[in-house]
């Protein structure tokens, strides 16, 4: 038998054919690769969360290989000498082992922790982007709700992970969680005993949190992230208004290779930043805190940053306890159970409230500039102000200490600030939005300030304005506002010499024309003179 000639060049095509014969993938795959994505820096924020989550899965899997989620007492005998001979739970001892006796273990632990902090931060800024640009409107309400669920699951996932090492801080956090659960009316103590298996702390809670932390919640997160992304693909990404962009199209680049390679590279950069932070910046040094002991706590105990707003609300809420008929409703119920409940439900129904208020049943694929929706923007900033006051109050002891302020004064400042800050923030934001809107309209009507001051024959001075488009007989621009940035500086109109490219030395010859306009020289002769004169005609 003659040996068949092997043609290397035909191999990809042959392999492709074989695969397609079985999977019938050519058409759907092409459709996916041709999918168009719009581009804007603000669309990166969600990716920060997504990639941090991937890093969490990778590093977390590594950590499970060495962590022992047991509350059984043991005596530490590892290489960290200051704690040798101290009795502690196996969870804490194995966390110390990961930090000191596993090669690269501390690096992995710190990456896991930094990635968790960045994960929640990424979710929050991504939600703000979605909120302020109106991306949650029809048809994307469902994905907004999925995102909110992801946010709360992420917070609980972080909280449970934070509790696992059984160090002094995480044990204190567990005790606070126990107290919060106890405050729930009627069934509080039953829920607490169901969770802890006994009175606090028992020996069950860390193994149970471990199951939740590495199995149940990650599975939920993976599932919901998948739903989130599939919905994004189905509904196509919303885009900013701009040339050629309408409610009926997506303008951008096709997914493969451009968008996909940028996304992949962004994953690497996200990973790189987390790796560098984890190498250089210490996070959660449990060996300094020591093992959890019910009687030990230190000043300046703060939770991870994303729980600080709840800690702040617990600090600010006044001592208002309801006691009636032999029953008690502890005050912590309001800031730690009711408040998060409101913060979950309110944003979830917001898209529907807004649509109802505006009687808006249309489909929106174009994003809005925050200034164009002053009411929503002001509401959002109001929420941020509320949140920031709570976060700052979560560290009011640090503030009091660092700035030598009375601790009690910081608490009162937080209480008053929580009531006064948000309305003020609303009003200020509303005014700023209106101001920005007005400025856009003004530039559209009167043109861009050129910085050229003219003295008129009667002695008046006046600045020459460059109209952005055709003008009417009064010299007023006739362009409509299009929901997108209005150029407000002459260099935005290409009126200045383009910057020469190159870092240390120019790679291009500088342009010879004194004033470039995208390569087209602007006349400075009599014609240009006339244009300038027309522009300054009294209006």
């Amino acid at each position: 038998m003659r040996k068949r000639k092997f043609d290397l060049n035909a191999l990809p095509a042959a392999a492709g054919n074989e695969i397609d014969d079985r999977l019938h993938a050519a058409t759907p795959l092409r459709k996916l690769m041709n999918k168009v994505f719009p581009d804007h820096w603000s669309f990166l924020l969600g990716e920060v969360a997504l990639w941090s989550f991937v890093i969490l899965l990778l590093t977390g899997t590594f950590l499970t290989l060495f962590f022992d989620p047991s509350m059984e007492e043991t005596v530490y005998n590892g290489s960290y000498t200051p704690l040798r001979g101290v009795s502690m739970s196996r969870a804490f001892a194995s966390s110390l082992d990961i930090s000191f006796d596993v090669r690269g273990g501390l690096f992995m632990r710190q990456m896991h922790h930094w990635a968790a902090l960045l994960f929640v931060a990424g979710i929050i800024v991504h939600m703000f982007r979605t909120f302020f640009t109106g991306a949650f409107r029809k048809p994307r309400e469902l994905n907004w709700i999925v995102g909110l669920l992801l946010f709360w699951i992420a917070i609980f996932e972080g909280l449970f992970g934070y509790s696992l090492p059984d160090d002094a801080l995480s044990g204190t956090g567990l005790r606070i969680m126990n107290a919060i659960v106890l405050s729930i009316p009627v069934i509080g103590s039953w829920i607490a005993f169901a969770g802890f298996g006994s009175e606090f702390p028992g020996t069950e809670i860390i193994p149970r949190f471990y199951t939740l932390h590495i199995l149940l919640l990650p599975a939920l997160l993976v599932g919901l992230v998948t739903v989130h992304l599939v919905l994004l693909l189905l509904q196509k990404h919303a885009q900013w208004p701009g040339p050629g962009r309408t409610n009926y199209n997506v303008v951008g680049e096709r997914m493969v290779p451009r968008y996909a390679s940028k996304m992949g590279a962004f994953f690497l950069i996200n990973f790189a930043v987390i790796a560098i932070m984890s190498g250089l910046f210490q996070i959660n040094p449990i060996w300094i805190f020591g093992p959890y002991k019910a009687a030990v706590v230190s000043a300046g105990s703060q939770p991870d940053w994303y729980v600080m707003f709840l800690d702040g609300s617990a600090r600010l809420f006044p001592a208002w306890e309801i006691r009636a008929f032999g029953y008690t409703l502890p005050p912590i119920f309001w800031p730690a159970v009711v408040l998060p409940g409101i913060l979950t439900v309110l944003p979830m129904i917001y898209p529907f409230i807004e649509a109802r208020r505006l009687k808006d049943r249309r489909v929106h694929n174009l994003l809005q500039r925050p200034r164009d929706v002053p009411n929503r923007t002001a509401l959002g900033v109001m929420a941020i102000a509320f949140y920031v006051v709570l976060v700052l109050s979560g560290g009011n002891d640090i503030i009091a200490d660092q700035f030598s302020i009375s601790l009690n004064a910081t608490t009162w400042a937080g209480r008053i600030g929580l009531l006064l800050g948000p309305p003020i923030a609303y009003w200020v934001t509303y005014r700023i939005c209106l101001g920005l809107q007005q400025h856009d309209r003004e530039v559209l009507v009167h043109g861009v300030e050129t910085g050229i001051i003219r003295r008129l024959p009667d002695g008046r001075f006046m600045e020459v304005h460059q109209p952005l488009g055709p003008t009417d007989e009064h010299g007023h621009g006739q362009l409509e506002y299009a929901g997108w940035a209005v150029p407000k500086k002459m260099n935005r109109l290409g009126a200045l010499v383009p910057t020469v490219k190159g870092f240390f030395f120019p790679v291009e010859r500088p342009s010879r024309t004194p004033i470039g306009n995208g390569g087209r020289p602007v006349s400075t002769g009599p014609q240009g003179q006339r244009e300038l004169e027309e522009a300054e005609r009294p209006r």
Binding site: V251, R254, A265, G279, A294, V297, Y327, V363, T411
Partner: protein
């Protein structure tokens, strides 16, 4: 890039693209005169995507500017290799075990982070530069379909769903409906109860743990429980100087461990003047008040003992301000006045720290007269 890159700019007006992709007939893709890019564009068109602008970044290949970018990207990739190699070498070869003091092992994690980070950063930056500076620029427009499915499909789907309901005829067969519900109900209950029931524990079951601490004589064969240090040794009045305080635990087996997390107690030796104030305030709280057979009340001479577990959320309220006689909980800054039955005077706590009634036994050690008379720590619903 070879074929696509050699294509010249394909620019069409962005405005008139919306109508194209739907109406235009498919072109014959087997036409040998078609270039590869024309096939790509046809594929995109069939997917509702119009490539309206496609132009190489460098119309003349091989210019100085293009080569410069190529060199930069190559340099980034080489840096990836260098940093990656450094990472591997450090990871494998460097000593990392903890040794006290300043030494090179402390650099292990920082070096891992920097080398790993630089490797990924340069790789990512190189890829992004490639995509943004070398790949031809492209503007593609994809059509969106607003609203739901085509009306025909909606109608068919409605009919289909209605037909399924009709096929099963659930509305016509009340017997089946009832039987199904009756059959499903226990299964549903089981599905809920099965995972939850084993978790349920009566919080007021054996020993009623929410109401009792390790100072309950019940855990000491009915004898009063001593106040002990963490190492289990008893405490004599002389061990705490005036104005001083000490964290004490119940003198029972494992009394100082987390098993008795409700029991840590703060034993305070008040100065004479403060003790007088505290004694005069005892009567305000009937539980702590002196009685004919116990003229000291909850205190013993100038000593007073309070639960260390904050009544707000259960942190140890352990910062003792000697000058103001306040106890401050560092978690949420509740403040308790120890000369007035540990009354909460600032912050979110609503309840006093419970007082542990103490005395000194025949051997001269502190003991608890009884357990705490009210539940310690954070409040809960059924706590009156």
């Amino acid at each position: 890039m070879s074929t696509i890159g050699s294509e010249r700019s394909h620019t069409a007006g962005a405005g008139d693209t919306a109508h194209h992709s739907g109406g235009q007939p498919d072109i014959d893709v087997h036409d040998p005169s078609l270039s590869r890019f024309e096939l790509v564009r046809e594929g995109a068109r069939r997917d509702g995507v119009e490539i309206v602008h496609y132009a190489p970044r460098f119309p003349i290949p091989g210019t100085k500017a293009e080569r410069r970018i190529e060199r930069t990207i190559a340099l980034l990739f080489l840096l990836t290799g260098v940093a990656g190699l450094a990472f591997v070498v450090i990871f494998v070869a460097m000593r990392f075990a903890y040794t006290p003091g300043t030494n090179s092992a402390k650099l292990f994690t920082p070096l891992l982070g920097v080398t790993f980070g630089v490797a990924l950063l340069t790789l990512g930056a190189g890829i992004i530069m490639w995509a943004k500076k070398l790949l031809p620029e492209e503007v593609a427009v994809e059509k969106r379909h607003l609203g739901g499915s085509p009306p025909d499909d909606k109608k068919i789907m409605g009919a289909q769903l209605g037909h399924i309901a009709e096929e099963t005829a659930i509305s016509r067969r009340p017997l089946l409906k009832g039987a199904l519900l009756l059959g499903l109900a226990p299964v549903g209950v089981a599905a809920v109860v099965l995972p939850i029931a084993p978790l349920i524990k009566d919080p007021h079951g054996r020993g009623d743990p929410l109401l009792h601490t390790g100072f309950d004589p019940e855990y000491n064969n009915g004898n009063p429980v001593r106040l002990v240090r963490e190492d289990g040794t008893g405490i004599r009045p002389d061990d705490v100087s005036a104005g001083g305080q000490m964290t004490v635990y119940p003198g029972i087996p494992h009394g100082a461990t987390n098993f008795w997390a409700d029991s840590p107690t703060l034993l305070i030796h008040l100065r004479e003047a403060d003790a007088a104030v505290a004694r005069s305030n005892l009567a305000r709280i009937p539980l702590n008040a002196p009685t004919p057979d116990n003229p000291d009340g909850g205190m013993w001479q100038n000593f007073i003992a309070y639960s260390k577990i904050c009544t707000h959320l259960g942190c140890p309220a352990s910062l003792y301000e000697q000058q103001t006689n306040r106890l401050l909980c560092p978690c949420h800054q509740s403040q308790f006045l120890i000369t007035d039955n540990a009354k909460p005077i600032f912050g979110p706590a609503t309840r006093r720290l419970p007082m542990l009634p103490i005395t000194v036994d025949d051997d001269g050690f502190f003991v608890a007269r009884s357990d705490y008379q009210v539940p310690i720590g954070p409040a809960f619903w059924e706590r009156s």
